[in-house]
């Protein structure tokens, strides 16, 4: 497996977690899935502190299932998911939620819920029946609203916002959770290009500035190449290529992983851009050869 060397982890230095302790989430030989046949079939993967890692691959390749397995929503059938060296299955849902935040695909807010109320839900794992709200919770919510540029919309109902604003509100919720690791499942799907750019820039900035590990499932190869520090390409339940965009987004990998015939150019920013050829089916034989 052509995987780049794992860079040394930098600690998450968010205000609430300034313990100098690095959050490490990784999995070994994970086999996972709901149905009779596993969707994820033997994956090694690590979330890298201070970086955005994009999981990309064709539909049904297992990228969302891998993300859910990392988040402990699904228990792996084989292999292990380790959070700071501990088997994630041995931790409580709540203990995991204090360190790993998950934003599933296409979440729906209850009718009438305001942005502030939604973001405040991110504090859930830090609260108990007896200690329901603290100044620390208020700070985290205010900071998340500010980071996502939603302070002015805080009292609007979520269902009255535009698609991009709504997605920012959900991201603010997982930011308020103040976890070292953020897992997001297709946070940009169905959004305008400009809104996609805004959201991915925001995630890249948060990873870099706060040392958080961000893993994001993306649909768009070019968006992943432009904003991710690392890309893991999945096909048929396995990671076939992993590393910096320049090393992974290549003509050969696009053919092998996506069955896509495309040219790869270098954008002015230095990252690769893929330009599909008009008849995209020609790579079929290449993929067959790869498997």
């Amino acid at each position: 497996m052509p995987a780049a060397a794992i860079s040394p982890p930098r600690p998450f230095e968010g205000k609430a977690l300034s313990r100098g302790q690095s959050m490490l989430l990784l999995c070994r030989d994970v086999v996972s899935g709901y149905g009779p046949d596993p969707v994820v079939r033997g994956v090694d993967f690590a979330a890298r502190p201070g970086q955005v890692t994009a999981l990309i691959g064709p539909n049904g390749c297992g990228k969302s299932t891998l993300l859910r397995t990392l988040a402990r929503v699904i228990a792996p059938r084989a292999g292990r998911v380790l959070l700071n060296g501990q088997d994630i299955g041995s931790l409580s849902t709540r203990a995991v939620a204090r360190q790993v935040a998950l934003l599933p695909q296409g979440p729906v807010a209850p009718e009438g819920l305001t942005v502030r109320e939604l973001v405040a839900q991110g504090r859930f794992p830090h609260q108990t029946l007896l200690r329901q709200w603290s100044a620390q919770d208020s700070d985290a919510v205010a900071r998340a609203l500010e980071q996502t540029d939603l302070a002015d919309l805080a009292d609007r109902p979520v269902d009255s916002l535009s698609g991009g604003q709504r997605q920012r509100a959900w991201i603010a919720m997982v930011l308020a959770q103040e976890t070292g690791i953020l897992l997001l499942d297709e946070p940009t799907t169905f959004l305008d290009l400009k809104v996609q750019v805004d959201i991915l820039s925001l995630l890249a900035r948060i990873a870099r500035d706060e040392g958080r590990s961000i893993v994001v499932v993306l649909h768009e190869i070019n968006m992943a190449a432009a904003f991710a520090d690392n890309i893991a390409m999945m096909a048929a339940g396995r990671i076939l290529a992993e590393g910096p965009p320049g090393a992974v987004v290549t003509r050969a990998n696009l053919a092998r992983v996506f069955d896509l015939e495309a040219e790869v150019l270098s954008a002015p920013g230095g990252y690769p851009v893929c330009i599909p050829a008009r008849s995209g089916m020609a790579g079929h034989s290449l993929r067959a050869a790869a498997e």
Partner: protein
């Protein structure tokens, strides 16, 4: 950062809870009115006197203490319990039409009670709420199983249809049993329509641990149920043990429904109407909705029970008929507005 942004979201929660004292005062007034009304109208001053300085020599005081006060207590308890059960079900399932009556819990509970009475000949005792709980759980399981097997799975509509089918089916068996053994069922006939009249204090005492446990559990679960409203996966990501919370919520709903049915029979639509009314003025946080539903539901059933005795006086209408007359149109409105 402005002060507005600093304002904690729980400020909104306390604002919504500010309605609680008003509701509590309304409940006290409704209960006093409920006690005053009857075959013989008793002045409010006399009602208060009977409650604060009872005089066993006065006939009115005896009537109030032995007959009217217990009935008001039943109305308060059952109204609060059914409303909380509905609020919890709607929150956990994210289904605006979830309610003990519509989803087969009441039918299951009353079916089980009827069979139990027929077999054992007892109409009271500690077995009543237990039998009702087993029936409620069975009814819920049956409805959920049928809806899950339907194309598209357990959706609000398939659940309602399965609930209607199970309710009709179990109702038919009850009617059949009634035809075969009129003697036993005479005592159950009024109860099967849902009523607060002629219930025994003994059944209430046996049911009260179920009411208490169900209400306490509901209040404890409210915070987690609020997180569940955003979907199972989001809730899991926030640290909610979804399977455990759903199981506990089912336990609370079954306990509340079973105790209510054992005491007052199947009172339909209370659990549907009240949480929706409460959400109109209290928002979507279950930590607010659950306690306010309890208060509002108690007021509602007390007032409904007053109407049941006043509208056709001296005839008395079964309380369950009045809740259905009010709840039916609300149900239709919800189907149009929310499905």
């Amino acid at each position: 950062m402005t002060a507005r942004t600093e304002a904690a979201p729980q400020a909104a929660r306390w604002r919504a809870m500010a309605g609680a004292p008003v509701l509590l005062a309304a409940l006290v007034l409704a209960v006093l009115w409920h006690i005053a009304v009857g075959a013989r109208q008793i002045p409010l001053a006399e009602v208060v006197a009977a409650l604060t300085r009872p005089d066993p020599a006065l006939f009115d005081h005896v009537v109030i203490r032995d007959l009217r006060l217990p009935r008001a207590v039943y109305a308060v308890t059952v109204g609060a319990s059914l409303s909380v059960a509905g609020a919890l079900m709607q929150g956990v399932t994210r289904n605006p039409l979830a309610e003990p009556g519509l989803l087969g819990l009441m039918a299951g509970a009353s079916f089980a009670v009827v069979i139990w009475v027929a077999l054992s000949g007892q109409t009271g005792g500690g077995m009543m709420p237990l039998v009702a709980a087993v029936g409620a759980l069975g009814g819920a399981t049956l409805v959920w199983g049928i809806a899950s097997a339907a194309p598209g799975g357990a959706q609000p509509l398939s659940l309602i249809l399965a609930g209607a089918a199970v309710t009709a089916f179990l109702g038919a068996i009850v009617t059949l049993a009634h035809l075969l053994d009129e003697q036993t069922f005479q005592s159950l006939r009024v109860w099967l329509n849902g009523t607060l009249s002629g219930r025994s204090w003994e059944v209430f005492l046996w049911s009260s641990p179920w009411f208490a446990a169900g209400l306490a559990l509901s209040l404890l679960l409210a915070r987690q149920v609020t997180a569940l409203a955003m979907g199972d996966e989001v809730a899991t990501g926030l640290g909610v043990d979804v399977a455990r919370i759903k199981l506990l919520a089912l336990g609370a709903v079954v306990a509340l429904t079973a105790a209510s049915v054992a005491l007052a029979g199947p009172l339909g639509f209370v659990g549907l109407v009240i949480p929706h009314v409460v959400r109109l003025f209290a928002g979507s946080d279950c930590r607010v909705i659950v306690p306010l539903s309890a208060l509002t539901g108690a007021i509602y059933l007390v007032v409904v029970d007053i109407l049941a005795r006043v509208v056709l006086a001296p005839l008395e209408i079964a309380t369950g008929l009045v809740t259905a007359l009010v709840g039916g149109p609300v149900f239709l409105w919800l189907v149009r507005a929310r499905l």
